[in-house]
């Protein structure tokens, strides 16, 4: 809907309102006194739906809700046709009496976009239109009003069936069914509200506030009009008030954008107060926009390929796809997107608020993006270090398996052959002794090869896990050692390998350099951290910088995001402590 046609529609609406107000006087209403309260509220309803609908269409050109609201006003005005002193006009106007009802139901169910997105919503609106049409048709065809002089010319030209008695019965029955339809519509709105997110509820709340009293009044009016309850006129006068006030409920929804602007001011203050925007930007936006799910994703440059989005911590993130149930608002700079707000779809209905928020937070978003970019690069370096360590481990494992399947098997076969030969050389003592020596030599070679393979990658670690591997390392250690505790759980291979190497390196140092007489190993998981501690009673003075194997371990541990510390005062033993993240 273009702005120009909206202006024309607005002028037409104004004309309708003027006509509506003037109708009783223009038409020289000579068939009854004007019921001032009813007339006034009816005009108010027409005018307010037209006006609020027009404002909504102007402010939200993408939404159809404004046009629908104007349609309600127009439908209300249609009743005025019956003021024209002519039997046909009277009949047409009367037949259109309740046409505003399904249109209003349409507004309710499709609020705030004006579109019926769910199958259930479409069914409810179709029910409202279908039922209104059927009930009105049955009523109109059987309605035989009789007026006394001087209004005897008035009659219903469509009343071609049945008698007034049948018409009364139809009215009694249909009124109850109409109330049921109203209940279904109201129930749909309430269920929208219940399922909505906080920003969605903020938009829908005025609907619920105004909808419940209006529906209650409407139900009472229907039933009393059909003779189920008394006091029809009084109900009309009192009840039309909330109906006329209804569009102002919608208007409150619009005004909330203004309230939102106040919140944007708060955002500026809030962002000024907080030192590190990257961490707090999401929280500040969530508070200001009332959407706890909101987060900002940053578009970062090509570090290892195309551009991509990351979150504030630098972790790679995906923009939600269309239809994912999340709204996305991009932040552009010189025509290029630099960031995106991922938010509740209900916020899409408040574009001014989003726009103002983005404008206010732009500097903070720019800063946060730079931070996120640095973090993303750091994250990439960390990931690449972890990949290098993992690749090394995979390679060591492969070599261990090759040694085991290749050289070791061949040497084994050779050793078998020597032993066979030895057993058959009973006649020649010299040969038998030589073969025996060769077999023993080979046994030593095999055992050295096994040690080598074991050092490359302990098969027990892959097979049975950390506790079993560390238990074996403790028993094999050159210094008497004990394993105080170790969890039986399995961890990621990287974590198990790092923990195992920390223990075996610390035990090797204790035996080789520290001249320790005893060492104690304990591994304990607390939360997401695996804590490894190796204590010995050696000479201390170990220096991680002095080229010990602990340096390589520090890299391995850091690649996993862990820490390692060596406390080794001269003469007072050594404590090696490592902490590894081990969350799933």
């Amino acid at each position: 809907m273009s702005r120009r046609s909206l202006i024309l529609i607005g002028l037409a609406g104004l004309a309708i309102v003027i006509l509506s107000v003037a109708a009783p006087y223009l038409t020289v209403h000579d068939y009854g006194p004007v019921d001032i309260p009813v007339d006034l509220t009816g005009n108010l309803a027409t005018a307010s739906f037209l006006a609020v609908g027009w404002v909504a269409a102007w402010r939200r050109p993408q939404s159809r809700i404004g046009l629908l609201m104007m349609a309600v006003g127009l439908a209300w005005f249609a009743i005025r046709v019956s003021w024209i002193p002519d039997a046909l006009a009277f009949s047409v106007g009367s037949a259109l009496t309740d046409i505003w009802m399904p249109v209003l139901a349409h507004v309710y169910v499709s609020f705030p976009s004006g579109r019926l997105r769910q199958r259930r919503d479409r069914l409810v609106v179709a029910l409202a239109y279908g039922w209104a049409l059927a009930a009105q048709l049955a009523y109109t065809l059987t309605w035989h009003p009789v007026f006394s002089r001087p209004y005897a010319w008035i009659h219903n030209v469509f009343g071609v069936l049945g008698t007034q008695h049948i018409n009364d019965e139809i009215a009694r029955v249909t009124s109850v069914a109409t109330v049921a339809v109203v209940a279904v519509v109201l129930g749909t709105v309430i269920s929208h509200w219940r399922r909505a997110t906080p920003p969605g509820r903020r938009v829908l709340a005025p609907l619920v506030w105004s909808g419940v009293p209006t529906a209650a009044w409407f139900a009472a009016q229907q039933l009393s009009g059909a003779g189920w309850l008394g006091g029809a006129t009084m109900l009309n006068a009192v009840g039309l008030a909330p109906a006329a006030a209804l569009p102002f409920g919608f208007l409150i929804g619009l005004l909330r954008t203004r309230l939102g602007r106040q919140a944007v001011g708060d955002l500026v203050v809030e962002l000024g107060r907080r030192a590190a925007p990257a961490e707090h930007l999401d929280a500040a936006l969530a508070q200001v926009l009332g959407d706890p799910t909101i987060r900002v994703l940053y578009r970062v440059g090509p570090a290892s390929g195309g551009t991509r989005y990351v979150d504030a911590s630098g972790q790679a993130a995906q923009l939600p796809q269309a239809g994912s149930g999340q709204g996305v608002t991009t932040v552009d700079q010189e025509g290029e997107p630099v960031a995106a707000l991922v938010h509740d779809p209900a916020l899409t209905d408040e574009p001014e608020l989003l726009e103002a928020t983005v404008a206010a937070a732009r500097l903070a978003i720019d800063n946060a993006r730079l931070q996120a970019e640095v973090r993303a690069q750091l994250e990439e370096v960390r990931a690449s270090r972890a990949r290098i360590v993992r690749a090394g481990d995979v390679e060591r494992q492969r070599i261990e398996r090759n040694l085991h399947d290749g050289a070791q098997q061949r040497l084994l076969a050779l050793s078998f052959a020597l032993r066979m030969a030895e057993s058959r050389a009973d006649g020649d003592a010299e040969l038998k002794a030589a073969l025996g020596d060769a077999a023993n030599e080979l046994k030593d070679a095999l055992s050295e090869l096994r040690e080598l393979a074991q050092g490359l990658h302990p098969a027990v670690l892959t097979r049975s896990g950390l506790a079993a591997a560390v238990g074996a390392a403790v028993r094999r250690a050159s210094v008497p050692a004990e394993l105080a505790e170790a969890p039986e759980e399995r961890y990621l291979p990287d974590v198990e390998a790092a923990a195992y190497y920390v223990v075996s390196e610390a035990l090797a140092n204790a035996g080789k350099h520290a001249s320790a007489t005893v060492a104690r190993v304990s591994i304990r998981q607390s939360g997401d951290v695996l804590r490894i501690e190796v204590v010995d009673d050696g000479v201390g003075g170990a220096d991680t910088a002095a080229g010990s194997g602990l340096i390589g371990l520090a890299d391995r541990v850091a690649a996993l995001g862990g820490t390692i510390s060596v406390v080794s005062p001269a003469g007072a033993g050594t404590v090696v402590t490592a902490e590894l993240p081990c969350g799933a």
Binding site: L412, R450, Q454, A472
Partner: protein, 125 residues
């Protein structure tokens, strides 16, 4: 009490084990190169003892042992590997199965590991 099936994917080891065990009075009634054929072979020939490599191309020796012990004839099982027992100690402790390193294999080692089942008139014969 000396009928044995040898399960290993290395032909060289099977040949040598056959020679060593035959020399020590065992009767080699079958051979298998992987877990699946081992189960079939044992059902078919009903040996007294199975010499079972831990690392088979299609299965883990411990799993094959579970399968063999799940139904008759339930032979004695001795695991073997060119790695030493330390590599499997958690599984050995869990299952209580006997183990001999390949380089230490001999008829007497097998008899010792079979325990009572090796002697004629033993508890399970």
């Amino acid at each position: 009490m000396n009928r044995i099936v040898i399960v290993d994917d290395h032909a060289g080891f099977r040949a040598w084990a056959r020679a060593v065990l035959a020399a020590d009075g065992f009767s080699i009634v079958g051979e298998a190169v992987d877990g699946a054929s081992a189960v079939g072979e044992v059902r078919a020939v009903q040996p007294d003892v199975v010499l079972l490599d831990v690392q088979l191309p299609d299965a883990d020796g411990f799993d094959v042992a579970d399968m063999l012990l799940a139904a008759p004839p339930r032979p004695a099982i001795i695991l073997t590997s060119s790695r030493d027992a330390a590599a499997y100690e958690a599984d050995l402790a869990r299952t209580g199965l006997p183990f001999v390193a390949k380089e230490d294999l001999s008829g007497s080692a097998v008899r010792m590991l079979m325990g009572g089942r090796a002697c004629p008139g033993g508890p399970l014969s």
